[in-house]
């Protein structure tokens, strides 16, 4: 039972990171129908930026409390990632708004490759250990163990989800975003500037990715130029699982995927008598995805839209 609880906690932590990344995918997709392949790389840039800032602050201002360093590095990562994603959209996606559908997908792949390469040049291709800044003593919780970092991850996810929901539902920008997603041309007629809204969407997605990147780095303790790939892929899966374009779906899909992976990793071996080990947990996520999409082709919370020309 303790093992199950432990796996659930780990799954929630992993899932909340997936959820934050998936939101970035799903918002971009909802508005311009683009799978933003470079999204995982924004996460990587966020994590590596905060790594650099932490290094600088630790050497120039020794004695600063860990959480302040983490907060400052997170804020700077926000600025860097926001600017980065804004620029990417402007240079690589905006000129292709009216191009055939697969063209921006290829530039997105190109941008992803470019960011990885640039990160390799700037930060060198080796694995770097990310310092532990929050107290590392584990908290006992009904027989399971949870670290302060994990508590911070769960809390920060909840707060940022609340802010995002408020932003989308109760602000002018949120209304403009929803209107643009519904129909960009009509939204433009109503006085919404689609370009501004799209830029804002990319910036918000980048902020969430940067937050997830810092979380990822603090949870696993390493950063490197390739770290964005796997969480990006999983988060994309999560976004589709929940119904792409659907914010609640992205969160649900992310958390579900995290739980499936973590519980699967814990139980796959014992349940199958050692035939299938935890290395198959990746397959589990994709298998669930295929089954869900077979039954509900537009994802768990996706709208059942009638086919139309």
């Amino acid at each position: 039972m303790e093992i199950l609880l432990q796996q659930i906690i780990n799954g929630l932590v992993l899932g909340s990171m997936y959820a934050l990344i998936a939101l970035g995918y799903t918002m971009v997709y909802g508005i311009i129908n683009l799978i933003n392949f470079a999204h995982g790389e924004v996460l990587m840039v966020g994590a590596l930026t905060s790594y650099t800032i932490i290094g600088v602050m630790q050497s120039s201002m020794p004695g600063t409390p860990g959480w302040i360093i983490l907060l400052v590095s997170l804020l700077i990562a926000f600025v860097v990632c926001g600017t980065l994603n804004f620029t990417i959209e402007k240079i690589a996606y905006r000129p292709l708004r009216n191009a055939p559908k697969l063209a921006p997908l290829i530039t997105a792949i190109g941008v992803s490759l470019l960011l990885q390469t640039l990160a390799m040049i700037i930060w060198k291709p080796n694995y770097k250990s990310y310092p532990t800044l929050l107290p590392s003593d584990p908290i006992q919780f009904a027989g399971a163990v949870i670290t302060v970092t994990q508590v911070f991850i769960l809390g920060a996810t909840a707060v940022s989800l609340a802010i995002l929901m408020w932003l989308v539902h109760y602000t002018r920008l949120g209304r403009a975003m929803r209107a643009t997603a519904e129909n960009p041309r009509v939204a433009a007629l109503m006085g919404v500037r689609p370009d501004t809204v799209i830029s804002a969407t990319f910036v918000i997605g980048a902020l969430l990715a940067a937050l997830a990147g810092v979380m990822y780095a603090s949870n696993y303790g390493t950063v490197h130029h390739h770290m964005g790939f796997l969480p990006g892929l999983k988060a994309f899966t999560a976004a589709v699982l929940g119904g792409i374009g659907n914010l609640g779906g992205a969160v649900l899909g992310g958390i579900l995927l995290g739980l499936i992976e973590s519980i699967g990793a814990g139980y796959l071996g014992p349940l199958t008598g050692g035939v299938l080990g935890s290395q198959y947990s990746d397959i589990l996520a994709f298998t669930v995805l295929i089954i869900v999409l077979t039954l509900r082709p537009t994802g768990l919370l996706g709208e059942r839209v009638a086919d139309r020309a």
Binding site: G30, I31, I32, N33, I35, A92, P95, R97, N98, A99, P100, K101, A103, P104, L105, I106, T107, I109, G110, V111, L113, L114, T117, L118, M120, I121, P125, V168, R178, T180, A181, E182, N183, P184, R185, P194, D195, I198, L233, T237, V240, G245, N246, L247, G248, G249, V275, G277, D282, I283, F286, T287, I290, L293, T294, P297, G299, E303, D307, R308
Partner: protein, 373 residues
């Protein structure tokens, strides 16, 4: 007059293609090897073009079929299975060394079967949902290849399978060097001719498909599925057929790859490979055979050619930058700038995407997507 000009052109091109490896092998087998791999990529791109270009189904896991073909050839043409299973060793004391007349049709058939297997549950999915499912399928195959060395050793895990037989026609082994009329033809050049022949056959098949009833039906499905259905096209069977045909190309290319390399490992079948094949098709000109071939040759040969450009560049930066990193940087920049300058590909067809290029407002998007709370 026109006709004879074309004939002369054709003869020149054919002669050029035939002599090319013989010239290149003077400069070292590495050059011919690059050419061989480029031809294999052309085969893969032609296969994917059926799925993505003709039928308009975005497949991000195409490398899975390549892997299926390669591993099938590896298992049937290497001592691995006999080593792993005593009963096979008893039946075939020499090891399974099936002739290519069995291996290639089997690779084609099984890869095609996998294609239909993947296609069946995804029929109802549209656009990008399909992309992620195919991507997941590719990853599933790769994870299995990586881990099926326990509890029974089938794929030999991350170590891969080695000592795969080279291709042999009626006792004529492509794996060793030969002499024809006093001209030395290396093994890699022999493979070049084989792959070239395969590419030509595939181009003919694809071209015939394109103009056939099936091809036209695929394009109808691509442009507007509802309208196609209304015209009496069986969209389900046609989509499955596209997946199956595309996968068959992948399977044959895989079997060729395994026999050519003599070694396969899961590393060769990563998601990045799938993505690169999609990039080849789109970069060249989706749905247009010359474009697809150009795209495949370009993206397959570019990294190798850049090897020679990256060296001097590396010197300019005082060796601070690794040549491999510079190469990747240039490829990424090339992908982005080609797409920005020519959004429809380097050599696009006149037909493709006509219905998609409506004179729209500043942004396109359809009403079926929205952010829903």
């Amino acid at each position: 007059m026109m006709k004879s000009n074309k004939l002369i052109q054709f003869i020149f091109i054919a002669a050029g293609l035939l002599i090319l490896p013989l010239l290149l092998q003077q400069g070292g087998n590495a050059w011919v090897r690059i050419l061989d791999m480029a031809l294999l990529y052309v085969l893969l791109a032609l296969g994917l073009n059926i799925v993505v270009g003709y039928a308009g189904l975005l497949d991000l896991g195409f490398v899975a079929f390549f892997a299926v073909g390669a591993y099938l050839a590896a298992l049937l043409g290497s001592p691995h299975l006999a080593q792993a299973f005593p009963f096979i060793a008893e039946a075939f004391p020499e090891g399974l060394h099936l002739p290519i007349w069995i291996v290639i049709p089997l690779a084609a058939a099984i890869a095609g079967l996998f294609g239909i297997l993947l296609g069946a549950p995804t029929l109802r999915l549209r656009g990008d949902y399909l992309a992620i499912v195919t991507l997941g399928f590719g990853e599933i195959i790769r994870v299995f290849l990586n881990n099926l060395d326990r509890p029974v050793n089938i794929t030999n895990g991350p170590k891969g399978i080695s000592q795969i037989d080279s291709i042999t026609f009626f006792g004529f082994d492509l794996g060793v060097d030969h002499q024809f009329f006093g001209i030395a033809v290396n093994s890699v050049s022999m493979y070049y001719y084989l792959f070239l022949a395969l590419v030509i056959v595939s181009v003919v098949i694809c071209h015939r498909l394109e103009t056939s009833r099936i091809g036209r039906a695929w394009m109808a499905v691509r442009e507007d599925e509802i309208a196609a259905k209304a015209m009496g096209i069986n969209t389900r069977n046609l989509k499955l057929l596209a997946f199956g045909m595309g996968a068959t190309f992948g399977g044959v290319a895989g079997a060729m790859f395994a026999s050519f390399q003599g070694f396969v490992s899961p590393e060769s079948f990563s998601l990045m490979e799938s993505v690169m094949i999609v990039a080849m098709v789109v970069l060249g000109g989706i749905g247009h055979l010359p474009g697809v071939i150009l795209g495949a040759l370009l993206l397959a040969a570019l990294p190798e050619v850049l090897r020679y450009v990256a060296g001097p560049l590396q010197q300019m930066t005082d060796g601070r930058l690794d040549a491999a990193i510079l190469r990747q940087l240039l490829i990424a920049l090339a992908m982005i700038s080609i797409m920005l300058l020519r959004p429809r590909g380097l050599w696009p067809t006149h037909e493709h995407g006509k219905a998609l290029n409506k004179p729209d407002g500043p942004v396109t998007g359809n009403t079926s997507n929205s952010i829903n709370p």
